[in-house]
């Protein structure tokens, strides 16, 4: 498998905190990579480095290279806005825009491309909602407020909003941690579907979820990448003792 995103000696500092320490990973194209590790080990920080979200945080400093295909997204002259349109992100807590309808939420990001025809927008909205399996549930009330949806529906709406922009990579930071088991299952099925078209990187605290949805798993501890490999291997015969302790729940 060829890699879609490649971290090359990635370091992130927040003031005096060295949150991510010299990380190298290849994220293969059209696959799901899970990032696991105890709380505070830097999973979110790595993920947010990949779409330059740290640009918004005063005091955050990112060094090293992150290659998307062959461009260094931190390279000189690279526009972070253009990068974020190729690398979408889904957050832990569903965050639809509360002042907008379901329809407007889905089209919000795509609209930034500029003027579009009405039927073009309709089509984007329908296909995005179809893809997240939300269309049948909301097709009769596209104009109602997005906050009327349940938490799980809102999260699928946020995923629809992200894929409507047609990114190449989707980052997900514990996308199902605020959801009930049924919604979680739907999101997991969705991830399985999405990987045909997208490269997905997902942070999760749920070992079973990582084992179920991912092809590759990366284990982090205290800001360092301890081990990264094919999911089946990581969960059955990891190379490192720390990894084994963590996935079997024997972590000190």
């Amino acid at each position: 498998m060829n890699s879609k995103v490649k971290l090359d000696d990635l370091n992130v500092h927040f003031g005096g905190t060295h949150a991510v320490k010299g990380v190298n990973i290849d994220f293969p194209a059209n696959s799901v990579t899970a990032i696991i590790g105890p709380s505070g080990c830097g999973k979110s920080t790595v993920l947010r480095a990949v779409n330059r979200m740290h640009d918004m945080t005063p005091g955050a400093q990112v060094t090293g290279r992150i290659l998307l295909d062959d461009t260094d997204i931190y390279g000189r002259g690279v526009d972070p806005v253009a990068i974020r349109r190729k690398i979408g992100m889904v957050f832990q807590k569903p965050n639809p825009f509360p002042a907008m309808s379901i329809y407007d939420n889905v089209i919000a990001g795509y609209k930034l491309n500029g003027r579009m025809r009405r039927d073009e927008a309709d089509e984007i909205v329908e296909s995005s909602l179809q893809r997240v399996a939300l269309w049948d549930e909301v097709k009769d009330r596209l104009k109602s407020n997005a906050m009327e949806l349940s938490g799980g529906q809102q999260q699928r709406l946020c995923i629809a909003r992200t894929i409507a922009v047609r990114p190449e990579v989707i980052l997900m930071d514990e996308p199902a941690s605020a959801l009930d088991p049924i919604s979680t299952m739907k999101i997991e099925e969705l991830i399985e579907e999405l990987k045909e078209r997208y490269t997905i990187i997902i942070v999760t605290h749920n070992m079973q979820q990582a084992a179920r949805v991912s092809d590759v798993t990366a284990f982090f501890y205290l800001g360092e990448l301890i081990e990264c490999g094919v999911t089946k291997k990581i969960f059955t015969t990891p190379d490192r003792k720390q990894t084994e302790d963590y996935i079997t729940g024997r972590f000190g």
Binding site: V81, G88, F91, K93, P98, M100, L112, M147, E148
Partner: protein, 320 residues
């Protein structure tokens, strides 16, 4: 053991707990506000009675204000107050929202903090100081520079015609604008700061630029709060007395031109009450006060209605 339980029960039944006292005191305070408002209304109505009896509804439509002939009509004052406040708000709102956006979204943190404290400072300056500045600096500048320029380039509009005295409706509008900008700015700033990070990040992650993020996530989320800020500014503008009295010219005339002097409701009360020439004159001034109170209450009610209808959407957002 049973003693303890008994005394406990007694306390609950007699309701002498701290909670009860606290509740009683707060209810009393809350109620007293209503009582004070009612007393004020009653007092104003009874003091206005001579005027209400003599002029009735014509008081609000009458154009004359003549203490010698005992002819009193309040329309020029209503016009002066409403127009000066509304125009001031129209000018102040974009300025204030822009300033608040600069402070919260654009300026580096230090500069933003400095600008914010400057704004709070401006909000704390007594209005008579604004009035002095208005008389000594703004009106001469209007008379010598701004008004001739406006007349030259926009003089074809009825709003910029007539002789330039300096003191004018225009001066009143400008001084009010300067006075309400800090209030609207500082409230809007708080509203913008309360927009959750998750909303901003949602927009940024979709590939929005900073300005697109503001338009997509920040302003819609804060719009009812910003509206509240504007309404508070309007309340302040319509009740403002001192500074406006000093620059608006105090001439009860209705004119389309912003260059002509005007008069506001608070100004006429402040200017004439001490030397009211007759009981009817005082009653007429009281009547203007009553109108001002009613207008203020109506503005507040409208604002509440608007906020309520807008926040129904946002409340669903907050519930999450």
């Amino acid at each position: 053991m049973s003693d303890v339980t008994a005394s406990h029960r007694w306390k609950i039944e007699k309701g002498l707990s701290g909670d009860f006292i606290f509740k009683a005191v707060t209810v009393l305070f809350a109620f007293s506000i209503l009582v004070i408002l009612m007393l004020m209304l009653y007092e104003m109505v009874s003091q206005s009675l001579p005027s209400l009896r003599k002029f009735g509804g014509h008081f609000m439509t009458g154009m004359d204000w003549d203490a010698v002939q005992e002819q009193f009509g309040a329309l020029p004052f209503i016009y002066g107050s409403v127009i000066s406040s509304v125009l001031a708000l129209l000018l102040a709102t974009p300025l204030a929202v822009g300033t608040a956006l600069f402070i919260t979204e654009i300026a580096p943190r230090r500069l933003g903090g400095f600008a914010a404290s400057l704004v709070e400072l401006l909000a704390a300056i007594p209005s008579v100081i604004y009035g002095l500045w208005g008389i000594l600096i703004m009106t001469p500048w209007l008379q010598q520079t701004a008004q001739p320029l406006l007349q030259k380039y926009l003089g074809f509009l009825p709003f910029f015609q007539g002789p330039a005295y300096g003191v004018s409706m225009l001066a009143g509008v400008l001084i009010l604008m300067i006075m309400v900008v800090p209030i609207i700015t500082s409230i809007t700033k708080e509203v913008l700061l309360a927009v959750p990070r998750s909303q901003r990040e949602a927009a940024i992650a979709l590939g929005a630029t900073r300005w697109e993020m503001i338009r997509m996530a920040v302003l819609p989320y804060g719009k009812s709060g910003i509206l509240g800020a504007v309404i508070l500014g309007l309340g302040r503008a319509i009740g403002e007395t001192m500074a406006v009295t000093m620059v608006i010219g105090n001439n009860p005339k209705i004119s389309l031109s912003l260059f002509s002097p005007a008069y506001t409701m608070p100004s006429v009360i402040a200017n004439e009450f001490a030397e009211a020439s007759s009981p009817l004159h005082s009653a007429a001034l009281m009547n203007i006060g009553l109108l001002l109170l009613v207008i203020t209450l109506i503005i507040n009610a409208l604002a509440r209605l608007l906020l309520w209808s807008m926040s129904r959407g946002a409340a669903r957002g907050a519930k999450l």
